[in-house]
């Protein structure tokens, strides 16, 4: 029995490439119109809830300002991103990775238990008995897999004018196209935030061993 199933490992690295390319090309797309709005419409500073800073070229794809090239990358990588996420959900429901390792029990939500987990994290104690992940890990992975990543797909489709005749109800649910665009931006940065914390915790908890296991599968403890 491996520590990480093959499906988890393949998806993890594929998703990393997708998220990085989508995020960096998304920054170029943001640079094309640096304001965010709520509701159906908005085009000037008066309607904006956020004036977005200009992202420097070096953290964007293609590394210089080209909305066309950035959109090319964005709509290409949207496919493996969305299909990969669907595949991961099917795989982790089928192999019980979700039920066994990610789903939380009611007990884990007790304030004392949550507090204990927070304190252990802050002390950088990552060993935990019984289940593979502790509560904060389960919560983070559950939120990313169940909310942040799917929301990117759903809000992304809602911004597409060609999808709206079919997905009009979804656009309305988000509060209009400009709201969907704002949510697309917010969840992109939520994923970026997860990425930073995730990489930091891997570095703090033995990066060689962690990365090796995510490639080879490692051994179940």
């Amino acid at each position: 029995m491996k520590r990480h199933a093959l499906s988890t490992r393949v998806w993890h690295w594929l998703n990393l490439v997708c998220v990085v390319v989508l995020f960096m090309s998304g920054l170029t797309i943001s640079n094309a119109h640096r304001r965010l709005y709520w509701g159906d419409w908005g085009f000037s500073a008066e309607q904006a809830w956020l004036a977005v800073p200009r992202f420097p070229d070096w953290i964007t794809i293609p590394g210089y300002y080209s909305l066309a090239v950035a959109r090319d990358w964005h709509i290409l990588m949207a496919w493996p991103f969305a299909l990969g996420l669907a595949f991961m959900w099917i795989a982790m429901l089928a192999n019980r990775h979700f039920a066994r390792d990610i789903a939380t029990s009611r007990e884990e939500w007790r304030p004392a238990a949550v507090w204990h987990d927070v304190v252990e994290h802050l002390k950088l104690h990552f060993e935990h008995e019984g289940s593979k992940y502790n509560f904060l890990q389960k919560l983070a992975y559950g939120l990313v897999l169940g909310v942040f990543l799917p929301m990117m797909v759903l809000t992304g489709m809602s911004i597409s004018p060609g999808m709206e005749p079919t997905l009009g109800w979804l656009v309305e649910l988000f509060g209009g196209r400009q709201s969907a665009r704002s949510l697309h931006f917010i969840f992109a940065f939520a994923i970026a935030g997860f990425f930073v914390v995730h990489v930091l915790l891997v570095l703090l908890s033995g990066p060689v061993h962690q990365i090796r296991d995510m490639i080879t599968g490692g051994r179940a403890q």
Binding site: F43, I75, A78, I159, G162, M163, R177
Partner: protein, 246 residues
């Protein structure tokens, strides 16, 4: 500081790798193919005649932003503005049985469609306005579209940064019920900013498809010989996707 340099270097190497892929032949065809997958998927999920959302009058934006050309100064256009577009003609030509040349009065006398729709710019902003004009289908049927016509090209009066604007759609979008030749915005003749005296509305695609300052509608079998062959001004110049439903 060193760690930051490492991150910047790693980022730069990654971007350089992406650009090398994008510039390779295989990479280019993959990026182009993705556009086709989206078009295919959207057409599969969406009925040919399924409508973009239409809004109540209360949803109309107080001002309709103009983009690209907003006050063309080239050729005869300024003279037409002075004349109130009294001598403006719209040609319907190319692969049709009976080419047409229509005045604005001819166009206003055709059956009209009014629609309050949302305009989505490729840059990201949106505005809502009420557009009025005949359906493109009415014009194409009157002219008698030949069966070998596969695309409809929109010719424009404006030059933008040294090039003549044009756009194109396929027959499916040309015959969509919301594809209209608009002469009015919010019940008034189109402002110059928004494409006076005539502009296209292609409601299921992004703003750059909605050609302004319309002079001719041309039915063609292929886009290869039009402009630089990519189907539109921005497609030729900047590499924008021809299918702008994404």
């Amino acid at each position: 500081m060193k760690r930051r340099n490492f991150l910047v270097a790693a980022g730069a190497a990654f971007v350089a790798g992406c650009n090398r892929i994008a510039e390779s032949k295989a990479g280019k065809s993959l990026l182009d193919a993705a556009e086709g997958w989206h078009q295919g998927a959207q057409r599969l999920l969406t009925g040919r005649r399924a409508l973009a959302p239409e809004y109540p009058k209360s949803a109309i934006s107080p001002f309709f932003r103009g983009n690209g050309s907003t006050d063309p100064q080239n050729g005869d256009y300024p003279r037409h503005v002075e004349e109130g577009f009294a001598n403006w003609r719209l040609e319907v030509r190319g692969l049709v049985d009976h080419p047409l040349s229509l005045s604005l009065e001819n166009i206003r006398k055709l059956p009209q469609r009014s629609q309050i729709t949302r305009h989505d710019c490729v840059e990201g902003w949106s505005a809502i306005g009420e557009w009025t004009g005949p359906q493109l289908a009415v014009l194409l049927e009157a002219a008698g579209l030949k069966p070998e016509a596969k695309f409809v090209v929109f010719r424009c009066a404006d030059e933008y940064k040294g090039g003549r604007y044009y756009e194109s759609v396929d027959i499916e979008d040309a015959f969509h019920p919301q594809t209209i030749v608009a002469h009015s915005l919010n019940g008034e003749p189109l402002p110059v900013r928004n494409g006076a005296p005539l502009r296209m509305r292609i409601e299921r695609q992004l703003g750059y498809k909605h050609a302004k300052y319309l002079t001719a509608i041309e039915a063609v079998a292929s886009l290869d010989e039009i402009g630089e062959g990519q189907g539109g001004y921005w497609e030729d110049r900047a590499g924008y996707q021809w299918y702008a439903g994404i």
